[in-house]
Amino acid sequence: MARIEIEEARCKGCGLCTIACSRQLLVLSERINYQGYTPAQITDQEKCTGCALCAEICPDLAIVVFR
C-alpha cells in the first residue's frame, strides 16, 4: 500500500512527474490552480508503489509520498 499527496497550490504543471512515474499514473489535470497552472493528479492511487520517483524529480517539492 502506498499513497502520494500532490500539493496542488505548489504545482507549476511542468509535467516532469508524468514522465518519471514508473507506472504512468500521473497526468496534468484541466483545473487551474491559484498560480494559473494545471496541477498534476494521480489517475489510480491503488496502483502506486510508493517508489517516490515523481517526488524526486519535482522541482517544486509539491509531492509527498507515504508507503
Binding site: A2, R10, C14, L16, G50, I57, C58, P59, R67
Partner: protein, 247 residues
C-alpha cells in the same frame, strides 16, 4: 504508512520563483539534502551569485552571503579563510561562473580553496532574458545569437568541469544532470561526494549540474527536459573528471 519523501530541513518551506520545469529547484533540493546528510546546516555559509538563483537566502535555511556578479568563488575564499570551521559553498550560473567570473573560479580552484562550487549550466543567461553564454551550444539561438552560435566567431562552448579538473588545486570535479530519475540519483551521489571533500578538509570540489531553462530556450518543460538528456549531454558528457582521494 510512513512518509518516505520529505523536504530536507536545510530548505525552507516556501514556494520558489523559478519557472515551471526549471531544474534550479531540483538542484537546490539536492544541495540541501547533502547539507542535511553531513549535519552541517548550522555552520554552513552559502555564497549566492547573480542570476536566477540570486534568492538562495530565501530558499535555504542557512546563512547566505550575496556575491557581486561572478565573484562568488572569491567571496567564498574570504569566508572560508576567515571562518575555517564553517562549511562554504557557492551556487553559480554559467553566465556568472564561466563568463564574468572566469578569473575568480579559475584562481580559487587553482589555489585549492577548501570550498565546494555548484555550477548550474543551462547554456544561457536565464535571468536577463536568454543571452548567449560561454556554454551556449553551437547553433543554439539566443537573444544575442539570433542565427545560432557560430563557432568560428564565438568559439566552442566551454566545458568547465573538464577544464577545472586539469588544475592541480582541484580535488573533485564532476558533471551531473537531474533530467531523469537515473541521472538524478547519480547527481545526489556526486554532490554528497563533493561535499565530503570539504567535510573532511580535503580541498576544492566542483559540481557542474546541467539544467533546463524552458523559458529562454523557447520550449515547454518536457521538451526542455528532453534537450538536457540529448543535445546537452551529447556535448557536456556526464561523469567524474577528477576524484583525487577516491572518495
Amino acid at each position: 504508512m510512513q512518509q518516505v519523501f520529505k523536504r530536507p530541513v536545510s530548505l525552507k518551506d516556501v514556494q520558489t520563483h523559478f519557472c515551471p520545469g526549471c531544474h534550479h529547484g531540483t538542484i537546490h533540493r539536492l544541495v540541501a539534502e547533502a547539507l542535511d546528510e553531513y549535519g552541517v546546516q548550522q555552520r554552513t555559509i552559502g555564497v549566492a551569485s547573480v542570476g536566477c538563483s540570486v534568492f538562495l537566502y530565501g530558499y535555504f535555511d542557512i546563512d547566505v552571503v550575496e556575491a557581486p556578479h561572478g565573484r562568488a568563488a572569491a567571496v567564498a575564499t574570504g569566508v572560508k579563510r576567515a571562518r575555517p570551521d564553517s562549511f562554504v559553498f557557492t551556487y553559480q550560473g554559467d553566465g556568472d561562473l564561466a563568463a564574468i567570473g572566469t578569473a575568480e573560479i579559475i584562481h580559487a580552484a587553482n589555489r585549492g580553496e577548501d570550498i565546494c562550487v555548484i555550477f548550474v549550466n543551462n547554456t544561457t543567461y536565464g535571468m536577463t532574458g536568454g543571452q548567449m553564454a560561454p556554454t551556449t551550444l553551437v547553433g543554439q539561438k539566443t537573444s544575442t545569437s539570433p542565427y545560432g552560435r557560430n563557432q568560428s566567431k564565438d568559439g566552442a562552448p566551454i566545458r568547465m568541469a573538464e577544464l577545472l579538473a586539469q588544475l592541480k588545486g582541484v580535488a573533485f570535479s564532476a558533471r551531473v544532470a537531474v533530467n531523469s530519475p537515473k541521472n538524478l540519483m547519480d547527481a545526489k551521489k556526486q554532490i554528497k561526494k563533493a561535499f565530503r571533500y570539504q567535510v573532511e578538509g580535503k580541498g576544492f570540489s566542483f559540481i557542474e549540474a546541467l539544467s533546463a531553462c524552458p523559458t529562454n530556450w523557447g520550449m515547454n518543460p518536457l521538451q526542455a527536459n528532453e534537450r538536457v538528456g540529448s543535445e546537452m549531454t551529447d556535448y557536456f558528457k556526464l561523469g567524474v573528471f577528477k576524484n583525487v582521494e577516491n572518495l
